[in-house]
């Protein structure tokens, strides 16, 4: 809950994401991963900071959302993430980013 509260204070976009999360998840299970979120660690493993593929766990939520938007609209160069990002809506991306940002 402490983490959710601090994310809430970031305002704008992020409070939208948090509202979505709270609404779509049972109250007792806010640690539950939103659809798609657990697939990411297949490539973006936590904890290795100099890895070829950057870890996403604990990464600021808004950074992940922005990157995914740029992959989707082709503004960020990509090898595979453009193809993956197109499989998620803005709302789904925000929920995933918020969850990832809270993972150890």
């Amino acid at each position: 809950m402490a983490r959710l509260a601090s994310v809430l204070t970031m305002g704008g976009m992020m409070s939208v994401a948090v509202v979505v999360m709270v609404k779509t998840m049972p109250a007792a299970a806010q640690g539950v991963a939103p659809p798609g979120a657990t697939s990411c660690s297949g490539c973006h493993g936590p904890g290795v900071s100099d890895a070829a593929v950057p870890p996403l766990h604990g990464r600021p939520s808004e950074e992940i959302v922005a990157a995914m938007q740029e992959y989707r609209n082709g503004r960020r160069p990509a090898t595979v993430m453009d193809r993956v990002a197109k499989g998620f809506t803005d709302e789904e991306t925000r929920a995933i980013a918020s969850w990832l940002s809270q993972q150890p």
Binding site: T24, A29, V32, T38, S39, G42, V80, G87, F88
Partner: protein
């Protein structure tokens, strides 16, 4: 090439990380119930760890002490990395508090909710997860039985078979012919045969440049075909001949003694022959009544619960996962989704609709990688490609792009190995 990584260092840092992560990952609502997972490969080991982190009592049944991973085993065949870099054990999984039974499961009784092991003992469960991978169908291609695999290896389960095929390639004279028999769909790792042909061509080009490759295929098209064929033309011109189904590529009989392959149109022999035969879900899926007449296991795409047996879930290669290919990436993603669904079901909650990602890299050369990706969700009862997403690497791209994907391919293998076994 940069494929070598020190597994011990990898496992060491990973073990410390995993222990810390396990402590901090406890969720508020913990489910209770007993889950037995059969198969400690990419699907089963992933699922067991996720279940344990959700507070469940988990028993993992695995027949082999050492797991030899298939991804990157084609690089072993090409002499680009030692087989040891493919080998993992379940020590870290056990340390996490998962009970490991090092035996083969021989039968499942879904009515009694019980798995029977080879020593006659049994394990009761509330939910059973099967991730047994594939069995080679030694009854499907006349002449190709277990003895024939000693002469014409399949190397489609990594380990002894990989080493055998590697030795044959090393012993082959320059100017020899390597013949591969590729199966019809569905089978484990759709781009795998063509990655294998590519890396063996790389080995020939660098060590036995007068040698040739022939692929006899039971299909008219294959995964990442345009990319593979363009790369073959560029890197290995004139070396690889691919014979499609409609040009007479389907092998209907083999003779192991003379290494002869029979098609409707003629006979072929090779100095080294690799037969990738038809496959089906691992035996325990058949014995547990979870496989249908195709030999694979129909599942509910939200929970991966068997359509044929209640309280039995099937993930990985053994499952019929709609648009998702039979890959380690898929098995890992499915293991996590299945664990979440099992935990929800045991809590009496409705499981959430999942979304899953797959990315399969193939190496065409050590510094030349290509990929296919997909995003999937349940639609009309099947896991379906999300429209507008996924697809292959671009057909035209600069060498730097291919080199980057080769780096990502190896990074993926290290990451997934760490997540599953570290």
């Amino acid at each position: 090439m940069s494929l070598a990584f020190t597994r011990r260092a990898l496992l060491k840092t990973a073990a410390a990380g995993a222990a810390a992560a396990a402590l901090s990952r406890r969720t508020a609502a913990q489910a209770s119930g007993r889950v037995v997972v059969v198969g400690g490969g990419f699907g089963g080991a992933t699922c067991a760890r996720e279940l344990k982190r959700k507070g469940l009592a988990v028993t993992l049944v695995e027949a082999n002490a050492v797991y030899t991973a298939c991804p990157f085993s084609n690089a072993v065949l090409a002499g680009l990395r030692p087989i040891e870099t493919q080998q993992f054990n379940l020590d870290a999984v056990e340390k996490e508090g998962i009970a490991i039974i090092r035996q083969r499961a021989v039968r499942a009784d879904p009515q009694a909710r019980r798995v029977v092991l080879e020593d006659g003992s049994s394990q009761d469960y509330d939910r059973l997860v099967l991730s047994p991978g594939i069995d080679i169908r030694f009854d499907a291609l006349p002449g190709y039985d277990e003895a024939a695999a000693g002469t014409m290896p399949h190397a489609w389960k990594a380990g002894e078979q990989t080493i055998l095929l590697r030795r044959q390639l090393e012993a082959m004279d320059d100017g020899g012919t390597f013949v591969m028999v590729a199966p019809a769909n569905p089978f484990r790792c759709p781009p795998g045969p063509y990655e294998r042909a590519s890396l063996i061509a790389h080995y020939f080009k660098t060590h036995k440049p007068r040698s040739k490759l022939l692929i006899l295929d039971a299909k008219d098209s294959f995964s990442k075909q345009r990319l593979f064929q363009a790369a073959w033309q560029e890197l290995y011109p004139g070396m690889i001949e691919w014979v499609s189904l409609s040009s007479g590529g389907k092998v209907i009989e083999v003779d192991a003694k003379t290494r002869t392959l029979v098609t409707d149109f003629g006979r072929h022999t090779g100095d080294v022959v690799n037969v990738i035969p038809p496959q089906r879900a691992g035996q325990i899926a058949q014995a547990g009544g979870a496989a249908d007449r195709t030999g694979w296991c129909p599942i509910d795409p939200v929970t991966f619960e068997s359509r044929l047996q209640p309280n039995v879930h099937v993930i990985g290669d053994a499952s019929i996962a709609g648009g998702m290919p039979k890959s380690a990436f898929s098995a890992n993603a499915q293991g996590k989704v299945c664990a979440a669904a099992v935990a929800s079901l045991l809590r009496g909650e409705a499981p959430a609709e999942p979304k899953l990602i797959n990315t399969c890299y193939s190496l065409v050369a050590p510094d030349y990688g290509i990929s296919v990706a997909g995003v999937y969700n349940p639609r009309n009862g099947v896991l379906t490609d999300v429209e507008g997403a996924g697809g292959t690497s671009p057909v035209s791209a600069p060498p730097s792009f291919r080199a980057q994907e080769a780096v990502y391919a190896e990074a993926w293998f290290q990451t997934i190995a760490r997540e599953v076994y570290g």
